[in-house]
Amino acid sequence: MDAGSLSSSGTLKTRSRYPLQEQFIQRKSSKENLDRFIPNRSAMDFDYAHYMLTEGNKGKENPDVCSPSREAYRKQLAESLNMNRTRILAFKNKPPAPVDLIPHEMSTHTHDNKPAKPKRFIPQTSEKTLDAPDLVDDYYLNLLDWGSANVLAIALGSTVYLWDATNGSTSELVTVDDEDGPVTSLSWAPDGRHIAVGLNNSEVQLWDTTSNRQLRTLRGGHRQRVGSLAWNNHILTTGGMDGRIVNNDVRIRSHVVETYSGHEQEVCGLKWSASGSQLASGGNDNLLYIWDRATASSNSATQWLHRLEDHTSAVKALAWCPFQGNLLASGGGSGDRCIKFWNTHTGACLNSIDTGSQVCSLLWNKNERELLSSHGFTQNQLTLWKYPSMVKMAELTGHTSRVLFMAQSPDGCTVASAAADETLRFWNVFGAPEAASKAAPKARAEPFSNVNRIR
């Protein structure tokens, strides 16, 4: 009877202890998260049931041995406490972990970025300045081009001069009559051997520069001066002051194969895309047209693929992106002053940057994601932009008049600029990465050469 009463009192004591713990646990769970209350309850009930059963059995079987029973009690208590703690810890650990992980990742990324992209030195002054007397100060012409054979062609008045950049020799290609002249546009053929010369009398002459011989004269395509030319393999596209764009096949006698009509005023910017499937034309009517070679031939309501009216001034500066086929950069004149980026498939304007002055010419860097623009009135500077953030990387000054024309060397490292101050300047604005690391540019050159081979 006494033993029974003792055992009953022990069980009562243990029972009284457990409810207190239950209350504490419930309070904690309620404070933290009410949704987690139910699983905690089920877990605790099972545990208490097991402990009570084991304690009862041991008490009945071994009443004499008190120390082992006490030890068993302690063990059970410890286990229960530990189990409770583990559950509590499990719930608490989850939220802080992801918070800690994010800043570590960010810090590692920032550390990796800085050494990977060191800023290269861009010389602020021109490498060389050459004399270009009698260069026509006219925004709408295109009087400078650098061929793939490393020969620079420039028109000074009515004369076309060829400067071989490899050895520095200069020769005079042609001097036209005062009635036919002056020369209004120049463009090298992709083979680097033939050059097209547009004249003020609406004619286009084709010359073979290896033998300094005129091969033919393209007549009948235009009624006024031809201010812009663009080659697409054997197709020479001419843009005139009458607003017409004519595709000429230089291999056959009847050279006019197609005519694009849309511009109302002079066509001053003309560029074929790298793939040769799309043509971009900018005019003095503040319009930018995208012509698709396949679409233009089909019978549709409009001949053009896209007609873009966002520019508020003449559009002359055009440049197709070398690393993204359907991206076109265009620059507006003194009334617009913006550089705009277009998706030529959808016709959407992706970005627009106000440069603060007349945009005369645009060039993409073939190695880095950069864009070089030449400007006119008031500052006459060349600006290098980082694409796509459009942050100014450098402003090259030195020209004292509008920087009307720019040409890029075949290797893409040197840029020649001709301005109304009658000087021709060479800028090493793209050349730094190859000079900095010799191994890297070789690796870079190979894939680009592959791309050229595909072309």
């Binding site: 300045t129 050459l130 004399d131 270009a132 007397p133 009698d134 100060d137 006219d138 709408y140 793939s148 054979a149 490393n150 008045g157 009515s158 004369t159 950049a165 490899t166 520095g168 200069t170 005079e172 001097t175 005062d178 992709p190 083979d191 680097g192 084709l206 073979d208 011989r213 005129q214 091969l215 033919r216 004269t217 054997h234 002051m241 230089v250 291999r251 002079e266 003095n284 003449a314 004149g333 003194s334 990387m393 450098a394 030195g398 008049s401 509008r402 060397s409 075949p410 290797d411 893409g412 490292c413 109304a420 101050d421 540019p441 070789k442 680009f448 050469s449 791309v451 081979r453 072309r455």
Partner: protein
């Protein structure tokens, strides 16, 4: 002379009638709008259309050049009371008649000759027209600092607020904000007219300076690594204007910035007295600064011969460049004959050389004036 003029008039009239028959008046402006340099006072549309016709008409271009030479002769033959007047008329006409405003117009040379003719004259020191010619001359030159310092040293344009506003704007464009602030305060202390315009410019300058600190930090960080040479020059140039101005004004400028409110400062008579003995000092510093800048820039800027420069291409890209050079067969016209083109080349190249020489002289003079605006002043030479 009269007969020649009559002949020219008769030749021009049918051409203008011919052009008018095809096009309406005002079409040339729309056709050549990108070749027009904007002027502050605007342009006369009739004169502009007439000038833009020179793009298509060679004879009209020649007549413009002859008209310019006539106006220059009128300057030399002037016998009236105001010798500055024909200069002003010539400058305005050239600005209208040569819309691109390039070197071929000779405008910079005319500016230089005009300012050189009267800089020593007491009569025109306070003349607003003469000051405006100086300011336009400064806009076309690289080192406008030299011109403004010269004007300040010689007391030209002192009573006019336009001088202080232009000088402050120029200093601000070169990030010399303290010097710009001092210049505006100097103008206010001298009670330059119109004073309301100067005070309004000062308030605008202050508003801009309030929004500046963030921009300054950004610009410094971005430009510092790529323009170390430029910053060195800027530091050097900062010393000259500080030495010219009194050191007492520096703490007043700091106080103004801290209080963030425009503060008019009363200048003691002693300070005004101090400025007078400073006049000879800037002339000395002016000479030294000009000499150094000229030497460096002349070496860099003078265009060299074409044969002296080479741009060899990288070997890697040559391989790439060679592949697209597939030969394009071109149909040859039967009409093309080699001998005719060769003979034509021989004849015309000689005539072009003559033209080039004339243009070269004018262009070189313009270049030298841009680099050294006051090149001819120490000699006190007379107008040509």
């Amino acid at each position: 002379m009269a007969e020649a003029e009559m002949e020219k008039i008769t030749t021009i009239d049918p051409e203008t009638e011919f052009l008018a028959s095809k096009r309406k008046n005002g079409n040339e402006w729309e056709t050549f709008k990108e070749n027009v340099r904007p002027l502050k006072r605007g342009r006369n549309v009739n004169l502009l259309n007439h000038a833009l016709n020179s793009h298509t008409d060679n004879q009209l271009k020649k007549s413009l050049v002859q008209q310019r030479s006539k106006l220059i002769q009128a300057i030399q033959e002037y016998q009236g009371d105001d010798p500055l007047l024909p200069w002003i008329q010539c400058i305005k006409w050239v600005q209208e008649a040569f819309p691109p405003g390039g070197d071929s117009s000779g405008l910079v040379v005319i500016y230089e000759q005009c300012v050189r003719a009267f800089w020593h004259s007491e009569r025109y020191k306070d003349d607003l027209r003469y000051l405006k010619v100086w300011l336009e001359y400064a806009d076309n030159c690289f080192d406008a600092d030299v011109i403004y310092a010269f004007l300040d040293a010689n007391g030209i344009g002192k009573p006019h607020s336009i001088f202080y506003i232009s000088y402050a704007l120029h200093l601000e464009s070169k990030n010399k904000f303290k010097a710009a602030n001092q210049m505006l305060e100097l103008g206010i202390s001298r009670n330059a007219q119109p004073i309301e315009k100067l005070k309004a410019a000062y308030r605008q300058f202050f508003a801009r300076s309030m929004a500046r600190p963030i921009a300054i930090d950004d610009s410094v960080e971005k430009l510092a690594p790529t323009r170390s040479f430029g910053t060195v020059l800027a530091k050097g140039e900062n010393r000259a204007p500080l030495s010219i101005l009194n050191s007492n004004r520096d703490p007043s400028a700091k106080n103004d910035r801290t209080r963030a409110a425009p503060l008019s400062i009363y200048k003691d008579s002693a300070d005004t007295g101090d400025t007078d003995p400073h006049k000879p000092d800037p002339s000395h510093s002016w000479h030294t600064l000009g000499a150094r800048a000229d030497r460096n820039k002349e070496n860099n800027a003078i265009p060299g011969k074409w044969k002296s420069y080479k741009v060899p291409q990288r070997p890697g890209t040559r391989v790439g460049g060679a592949t697209p050079s597939a030969f394009i067969p071109v149909f040859v016209d039967e009409e093309c004959q080699d001998s005719q083109s060769k003979k034509a080349e021989g004849c015309k190249s000689s005539s072009l050389k003559i033209r080039q020489e004339d243009d070269k002289e004018l262009k070189r003079e313009t270049e030298l004036l841009r680099k050294n605006p006051l090149r001819n002043f120490p000699q006190n030479s007379l107008p040509r």
